[in-house]
Amino acid sequence: MREWLIRLRDWLRRDELDRELTEELRFHREQLERDALGDGAPAEEAPYQARRRLGNLPLIQEQARERWSWPWLDHFQQDVRYALRGLRRSPGFSATVIITLGLGIGANAAMFGVIDRLMFRPFPFLRDPSAVRRVYLTWHDRERSRSTSAFEYTRYLDLVKLTSSFSQFAGFTTRSMAVGLGDASRERPVGVVNASFFDFFDLRPALGRFFVAAEDVTPKGANVAVLEYGFWQREFGGRNVLGETLHVRNIPCVIIGVAPRGFVGVSEDEPPAVYIPITTAAGNEPNERMATNYYKTYNWGWMSVMLRRKPGVSEATASQDLSQAHVKSWDAEVALSGGGTPSKIARPAAIAGPLKTAAGPDAGLESKTLLWVTGVAVIVMLIACANVTNLMLARVLRRRREIAVRLALGVSRTRLLAQCLTESLLLATLGCVAGVAIAQWGGAALRHLFVRNISALDVVTDGRTLLVAAGFALVAGVLTGLGPAFLAGSGDLAGALKAGAREGGYHRSRMRSALLVLQGALSVILLVGAGLFVKSLDHVRSMRMGFDAEPVLLATANMRGMRTTDAEQEALGQRLLEVGQAIPGVEYAAWVSAIPFWSSSATGLYVEGIDSVRKLGRFTYQTTTPDFFKTMDTRVVRGRSFTALDRKGTPRVGVVSEAMAKVLWPGKDALGQCMRVGNDTMPCTTVIGIAENAVERSFSDEKRFMYYLPSAQYEPASGFALMLRMRGDPLLHQETVRKALQAVMPGQSYVGVQPMNDIIDTQRRSWKVGATMFVAFGVLALLVAAVGLYGVITYNVAQRMHELGVRIALGAQAADVVRLVVGQGVRFALVGVTLGLGLALIAAKWIQPLLFEQSARDPVTYGMVAVLLLTVALVASLVPAMRATRADPNAALRGE
C-alpha cells in the first residue's frame, strides 16, 4: 500500500526524478574518469574509459525510469489532456454541457438533501437505528381508518406493560414553552422525554449527566433540566452551569447536564433547547385535572413513543405485539370511561413504524408531494443526460473524419472508447462541481420552502449528499459517453476517409431523434404537472374560506402557570380587548376559543327530534365576543350576530353555519330553533343567525358544521386568543400591537403576536411546494429541451448547407427552405408532445390525490402545454431555418 503511494508520488514528480538520475549518473562518470586518470590513463582517454565502464547510459536511465512510470496512468493523463484541449477549443459546447449536467445534478443533490433529512437519515448518536421504531396507533371511526403517533401517557404505560417484543421504551414530545425569566424569557422548543430516552443513544454528556429513572416518576418528576449544546453555548457562553436554576414554563429546574454537540434527540424541526423529564412537565401542567390524571386516564393525547425491537423480532411480529396491546388498552379505556366505541367496532391496531413521521403512515400531503418532486428532479436529470448525449453525438459526427484518420493511423478502438468516456466523465465531473454549487445555492431556497427549521442544509459539507451528487455524475458520465463512444468506434472507415471535409455528410441518426422525442415527452409531463399544481394552488388561494384572514393578527396570552381566578381572567380578557381595540390601526378585535387549522372544540349537542346529533358528524363550536364576524369578515347570511347585550343572564343565543342549519333542520328555517349545548338538560340556545360555512381544520374533506356562541354566556369566560383586524399590512403593526398588549399583562405572563396568514400558509404549503417545484423544474426542462432541439436543428442545417444550396440553385424559395427546416423541428415536437401527453394521462391517477379541486386530466392544461411546447419548438427551429435560407447556391454549385 505504502509502496503504491510512493510510486504514485514518484509518478507525479517523474521529471524531477529524471533530472536527479541524470545528475547522479554524471557524478558516477566523473568519479570513474578520475579513477581512470589515477590509474595512469592519458587525459584524452579517461572520459572514454569511464563511459565504457559505465555501460549503456540511456538503457540504465530507461530501466530506472520504469520504476516511476505507469503506462495506463500516462494514457489516462493523455486522455484527460486531450479532452481538456477539446473542451477549451469549443467553450460554447463545454459550457452548455457543464451547465446542463450541473442543473440536473444540482436539482437532484438538493432534493436528495431534503428528502434524506426528512425521511431517511438516522438521527445523530442513535444506536442501531434500524431497530428503533415509533409507535403509530390505528383504529376505525365510523368505518374510516384513523392513525396517530400522539397518544396518552396512560396508553404508553399500557404498551410497556402489555408487550414483550421490545427492549427499550421512551415517551417523548417537543413542546413550546417559555424558558428563562423576565425579559430574557423566550418561547422555545422543550424536549419533554422519559429518562430512558437517552439510553437509545450512544451519548456522553458534554457536561454533568442526563436525568435518571428516579427523577422521572409519576405523578410528578424531579425539577431537573439538561441543556442542548448550542443553547448552552449561546445563552450561557459555555460556562459551568451545573446547579443553576432555569425556569421552564412554571417549573424552576436545576441544570444537571449539557447534551453533546450535534445531539438533536429525535427532533425533525428545530432541536429542543432544553430537555426535562416527561413526568415533570405533565405533573406541573397548569391545568390541575391534567396534572393529576395524565397517567391514569385516556383524555390527553400529547406524546409519542419510540421503542427498540429485541434482536430477532421482526417488524411484523413487533406490530402484532403492539396491536394486541392496543386492543387491551382500548378495552381498559372503554371500561374506565364507561362509554365510547367498543374495540370490536373500532378495531384498534398498531404499527411499529419509521421514527421519522415524514416516512411513516401519517406522512402529510407535503412529504408525498416532496417524493413526487424528487421524481421530477430525476426526470430533469434524464432530460439533461439526453440533451448532453445528443450534443456529444453531434460532436462525434462532426469529428468523423478526424476519428477515421486516427483509426487508420492505428489507434486501437479500445483507446478511442476510453478517450470518449474520459471526455464525458470529465464533463460530468465539471458538471458535478457546478451541480454542487447550484445545489448549495438552491438549497437556501429549498430550506425556505420545506424544512425551515432544519439549520443545516449545507450541500458542500454533507458527505451523503456529495456522494449522491458524485453518483449521479458517474451515471451521467457513463450514460452520455457510451453512445458517442460506440458511434465513434463503429462506422465505415474508408467511406469517411474518402468523403473529404466538405462531404462530412448528412447523417440521420435514429438515436438522436429518439433522444429528442424523449426530451420533449418528459418536458411535457413536467409542464402538465406544473400546470396542475399551479391551478391547485390558485384554487386554494381563491377559495372562500368563510373568513378573510389576510389583515388579521393573532395574539395569544401565556399566563405561564399563574393560577388566576375566573374573575381575574375575565377582567384581564376585557382589559386586553379594550386595549386592543384602542390601538391605532386596529379595526375590530374579538376573543376566540378556536383558531382555524390550529385548535377546535366540540361538546355534546342536543336537538329535539334527532336521536344522536353526534352520528351526523363533528359539530365544533367557537365562543367569541360580539365583533367576531366583523373581525374575521365572516358573513352572517341570515338573522343577526350577537351583541354586547347578549350577556350572562339573558337568554342563550347562538349562530350556526349554513351546513349545520341544513343538516339539523332540513327543510325548516333554522332561525329560532332550539339546541342544547353540553348537556340535554341545559336551557335552550336559540339560533339567531346563520353564517357562511368556514374552513376549520382542512381545506377539503370536512362538513363545516360550526356554531358560534357569545363567550359572555358560556364557561369558562376566558378566551384562547385575541384576533385583531388591522387596516393595511398586519406585519407593520405586529410589534406595536405586542407592546401595547404586553403592557397590560400581569407578572411574568406575556403575549405572542403573529399574523393569522402564517398559520394558513402552512396549510397551503404542499400545493405551494408542488407548484413552485414543478414550475421550476418544468421551465428548466423546457429550456433544456429547447436548447437541445435548437442544437440538433442547427447541426442538421449546417450539415445540409450544401444540399440546401443546390435546392436554392434549382429554384427553391426561402419559404420552401424554412418550411423544410421548421417542419423537421415541429415533427419532433409533435411526436414528443403526443407521447408526453399520453404518459401524463397515465400518471394522472397517482397525482390526483395531491391536487386541490383540480382534475389531473384537465384538458385546458394539457392543451396549453402542447401549444407551449410546439411554439418553443417552432422558435427554436426558426433561427436555424433563417440561416438555411442564406445557403449560397454559387458555393454549392462550384463545389460540385
Binding site: E3, E23, F27, E30, Q63
Partner: protein
C-alpha cells in the same frame, strides 16, 4: 583478475548487499559499487545497469532514503541511507540467506 572470473549474483542478493553496505555508512551509487567490488576482491562487479534501478526499487519499497549531500571533495552527490524498515528487511534476508548458503554447502560437499 580478469573480467571472466567475475561471478553473477544470485537473484535477490544485490538488495541485501546494498543494504549491508549502507548500514555501515550512507553512501552514493558510485561508492556502493566501489565498496562491493573492493570487499569481494573484485569477484563481484556490480553493473551500473542493475545498481541504479535496484536503488530506485529499494527506495520505493521504503528500505532506503535518498538525499543530496556534499562529498568530502565538495561535489554534490546523492547519498542513500537505510531506513528502519530496511534494517528489518536486511535482518530477515540475512538469516534466510545464511540458511540457504549452509544448505547449498551441505549438498555440494559430498561431490
Amino acid at each position: 583478475m580478469t573480467p571472466s572470473s567475475r561471478r553473477d549474483l544470485l537473484p535477490g542478493t544485490l538488495d541485501m548487499l546494498i543494504l549491508k553496505t549502507l548500514i555501515a555508512q550512507p553512501m552514493h551509487g558510485y561508492g556502493i559499487a566501489q565498496h562491493l567490488q573492493r570487499l569481494s576482491e573484485d569477484v563481484i562487479k556490480v553493473e551500473e545497469g542493475s545498481l541504479y534501478p535496484a536503488l530506485q526499487r529499494m527506495r520505493q519499497k521504503g528500505w532506503i532514503k535518498a538525499e543530496w549531500r556534499q562529498t568530502p571533495n565538495n561535489q554534490r552527490a546523492r547519498y542513500y541511507t537505510v531506513t528502519r524498515s530496511g534494517r528489518k528487511h536486511l535482518g530477515q534476508q540475512e538469516s534466510g540467506f545464511l540458511e540457504l548458503l549452509a544448505a547449498i554447502g551441505r549438498i555440494m560437499r559430498p561431490a
